[in-house]
Amino acid sequence: MSTHEHEQDGQDAERHLLRDLPPDLPQPRDRFEQICRRVRRRQYRQGLSAGFAGVAAVALLVPAVSHLMTGDDPDAAVAASAPPSCPAKLPGQVPPGSGSVPHSDRLVPVQAPAAAVLCSYKGAADSQAETGTALSGSRQLTGSLEQVAQDLAWLPRKQSDETKMCTMMAGPSTSYLLGLTYPDGVVWVSTVDDPNGCADTTNGTFASPSGTGALAKAAFASGGWSASPGPDDGCDAGLSTGRLGQELAMVPDEPSGLWICDSDAPGDGARREIKDRTRIAQLAKALNGLPASTRPAQCEAASPTREAASARRLRFDYEKGPDLQVTIDPACRPQIDNGARRATLTEQVQNLVEALAAG
């Protein structure tokens, strides 16, 4: 209760209510560890800033840095790291990044950003947000941002001749701009949450056909970029968004594991995990040797007259980054599809897959 003289004239009611106002707030167990990570990031950034400063600049900076390190003015601490600000209106193009963050080889760097802000632009009812749509909300994402890199850094690149088949469902749509802060600068990423999930994800230079609107929507709702629902076992497709390089090779990089799944026959007998890297590499090499194109496959519905051959899904796992899914569907022409490239099934590949599936 207050002892200040001038407060005694009837402020108790409001004061009591204010005291009761905060709800029961959860106390995260890893708060101290998160603070440690923030301190490390701040020190890293300060170290980089000092390193890039020229000899002449050092002479100017010494008093300020000295004040930052030795002074106890909280203002000095405030200025160091701020998330980027959301544009007040949805721009026609993704805002250009700042600094020297590479953003032409990947959508975002592989490392976790130091800070992330998510800007939301809600479209009018049943329509997509258009250029000039006012900012409808923004959130600074909290918690670990490792998953941002995991989900976005490995998205495949959209090819110039790539065409996407999209549904035309009506419904509300929200555009998001994700501003990511790194020690080297800032990268902006644009994505859309729409009923058809057909919008690209782009940083203005690197575009991916993979839709990430649902991830952005979930992050905006929770305030953190949590782990996206992944496969609960080797043959659950989960929410695969593809893997960088799948647009160039049927099986990019060096997979470390493989699941062979029978799409038409659920159950324990329908999956097999392969750990023999030599045999996995042999299959990857055979798949990569097939002539492939980016043209969409033509598939026919199953019919009693069609030859009974079940579709298979191959899930290649990697030590870093997301898995890659390759389907082999006898009902399609061509039969093999990794989401970006398609190829005709050969006897050699079929035999390799059957041998691996048989153990």
């Binding site: 409001e14 905060p22 301190v39």
Partner: protein, 166 residues
Amino acid sequence: MAEPEGFREFVTGRSPALLRTAWMLTGEQQLAEDLLQTALARTWPHWSRIRDSCPERYVRTVMVRVHGAWWRRKWRGELPVERVPEVVLADPSCRVAERFRLGAALRALPVRQRQVVVLRYYEDLSEQETAVHLGCSVGTVKSQAARGLAKLRVALGHPTRTENMT
């Protein structure tokens, strides 16, 4: 990066109270946690010098200033309004409804008024202490506190009083 002696204990012991203050400033659980962690991370390098004086005051000051900096740098989808909109509830006499209205009214205050109200009437700081925290004059604290409180009273349906501005 050595852990300062006693800092972990301070974080563990005082975070619940500081988090409540952060919630009063931001009105959002996630943002409050982020504000608190930011303030504690910025307190870390200065811990050895402030630990024996009043570290909680220092953290609170950092929180208020970081909160103000966030507010200046980006719009959070909220606009301060001169009059708090009336909230229609099924049972306006119950305490839960009153708290709900107070929370909405607090979030609708301009950021500086909200900071003054939180420090003055939630943290129970004096006008002088509040002025030091906010880096403004005592007169500003008086006027902002009076206006903020008046708006909260209007929202709560409490009779308005003329505050002592001297």
